[in-house]
Amino acid sequence: MELFIQQLVSGISIGAIYSLLAVGYALVYSVYNFTNWAFDAFMAFGAFIAFTSISSLFLPFWAAGAISIVLTIILAVSAEKLAYSPLRARKAPRLFMMISAMGVNLAIVNIINLIYGGTFRKFPVDALQPIFIGNVSIGRTDLVAGGISFVVLALLWAFLYRTRWGLGVRASSIDILTASLMGINNNGVAIVVFTLTGILSSVAGIFYGIKYAVYPMMGMVTIKAMIASIVGGLGSLPAAIVGSMILGILETMVSGYISSTYRDLFSFLFLIVILLFFPNGLMGKSVEEKL
């Protein structure tokens, strides 16, 4: 029973990190209708900036986090300006957008690899003592990572549903052309969306780095976020969060009770099973192509 509760808490915390990633994808996808493949590179970038600020510049954790968020926002917005916006202006097909994003991803990840090398690094924060409730030990990093992730998600929700800018983003996600006819500044929305992307990826990167390790290919974990959003149901933020939670808990249960080696295999099998029995995901609406 103790093991079960420990795994559950750990699963919720990793699920919260997956939620940040899944929401980051869904945000760009809902507005611009393409998957921002570079997202995982932003995540690795954010984690490495924070890592360097702490290990080389000896900054406190909060300052490193702030620097990482700001630089990742700059990276995300400049990727949008340099690689996506010219294509969008030309109304290029989605495949071209994806390839361009993939290029950004390849370039950033491999630049990080060139600078730091491919080794796994421990994120330089002091290991926090776990909290004991009875016999159950709960990692404080899990609590912090999960808690802050939920706060970020709540702030994102408040931004999208309680501010004028959020209204602009939501309007653009329904129909970007009509939204711009109604006086919504398209370029402004692009900057807002990619700023949010930068924040989400940086926070997710830092916490993933603390929980596991910092390495150039750490962005591969965003596959999990994709799987989670397919499992939950495409095209809605709550479904992405539910899918992430289910996947996070499933993974920690598998690594706790079966074998951590086959954790990724299980999440992939889970995806196939879900697709076979729930073709639209657990909470998804029927996916019909818009004419």
Partner: protein, 316 residues
């Protein structure tokens, strides 16, 4: 000389796999970043065929390809049936190839855990899995892939790919890549066409994996990483959408040039990344996008030579 031949062999093997990606990504418009997984499946299967069952080498390559093709349905059927959009299909292929790599990395452990089983099937599976060697690699394969095998395979692969894309199925694939809804309204069976295209694509990758194994004389999961998939995708993106000759040329250049310039190895993927963006912005159709392979110039040359020979005699 041996070094150059080695490069030609590696280029040829990658051309076969890149043609597979061209059929799927270039012609059917389905983005894949997991073809290394299909290469691994085909490679291991044909290696098992030759080494454990003494199947002749060319037949083993075909069996490996067919095995990769059939395995592609595991991912293809659920994904296409649920109309997974392009990007999510790409993720599914990536997940598939990572799962394959994970399994191959751990065959030793799997085999050892099966060792206690009493059934003869369990025993056989266990000894086979241990022989596959996990992350260490499947060793001592016959070293039978030589330059002629590769040249013949590339020629056949090119020929059949050309036949496919100019056939009715190929036209259906192109229609799907242009507009799925319109294609379906014109009576194209989306699921069937996509599955056929995926099967052929995985078949090509599987054959390429087999060739690779019998060239290196060993197979290890580290040969089939995401970098491999990115290389293949890069060949198709730079070579051009809806073109076979484009990926053919770029696969040759992209594999051959880094082999010759080993010192720039770590810069290669960075340059690819920037090139992806630059190509998409300035020449999105790729180097030879929408250029069909065309041998009519051979006929023209033949006619030109033929006529020149005969024109004087006619005058005379």
């Amino acid at each position: 000389m041996g070094y150059l031949i080695a490069i030609v062999i590696l280029c040829g093997i990658n051309i076969v796999a890149a043609l597979g990606v061209a059929i799927l990504t270039g012609y059917t418009g389905l983005f894949t970043i997991g073809h290394a997984g299909f290469m691994a499946l085909g490679g291991y299967m044909s290696a098992i065929m030759v080494k454990e069952l003494n199947v002749p080498y060319p037949l083993a390559l075909l069996i490996g390809g067919a095995f990769a093709g059939i395995c592609s349905f595991i991912i293809g059927y659920p994904a296409f049936r649920s109309r997974l959009r392009g990007d999510y299909f790409a993720i599914a292929t990536l997940g598939f190839s990572e799962a394959i790599r994970l399994l191959l990395n751990n065959t030793r452990g799997l085999g050892q855990s099966l060792q206690d089983s009493t059934s003869s099937f369990g025993q056989g599976a266990s000894s086979l899995l241990i022989k596959l060697g996990g992350a260490f690699g499947y060793m001592n394969l016959p070293n039978v892939t030589n330059v002629w095998v590769v040249v013949v395979t590339v020629a056949l692969a090119m020929f059949f790919a050309h036949m496919y894309v100019t056939s009715q199925y190929g036209k259906n694939s192109i229609a799907i890549s242009q507009d799925e809804v319109a294609a379906e309204m014109m009576g194209v069976n989306l699921l069937k066409t996509k599955l056929i295209s995926l099967f052929i694509s995985a078949f090509y990758a599987g054959v390429a994996g087999g060739l690779l194994g019998f060239y290196f004389a060993y197979l290890s999961p580290s040969l089939f990483t995401i970098t491999k998939s990115s290389d293949l995708l890069a060949a198709v993106v730079f070579g051009g959408i809806q073109s076979l000759i484009g990926p053919f040329i770029t696969a040759f250049v992209l594999i051959g040039v880094p082999e010759l310039l080993r010192t720039f190895a770590e810069w290669r993927l960075i340059i690819y990344g920037f090139l992806f963006v630059i190509v998409m912005i300035f020449r999105p159709q790729g180097l030879l996008g929408y250029v069909e392979m065309n041998f009519s110039f051979l006929g023209r040359w033949w006619n030109a030579i033929f006529r020149r020979k005969h024109t004087p005699s006619q005058k005379g």
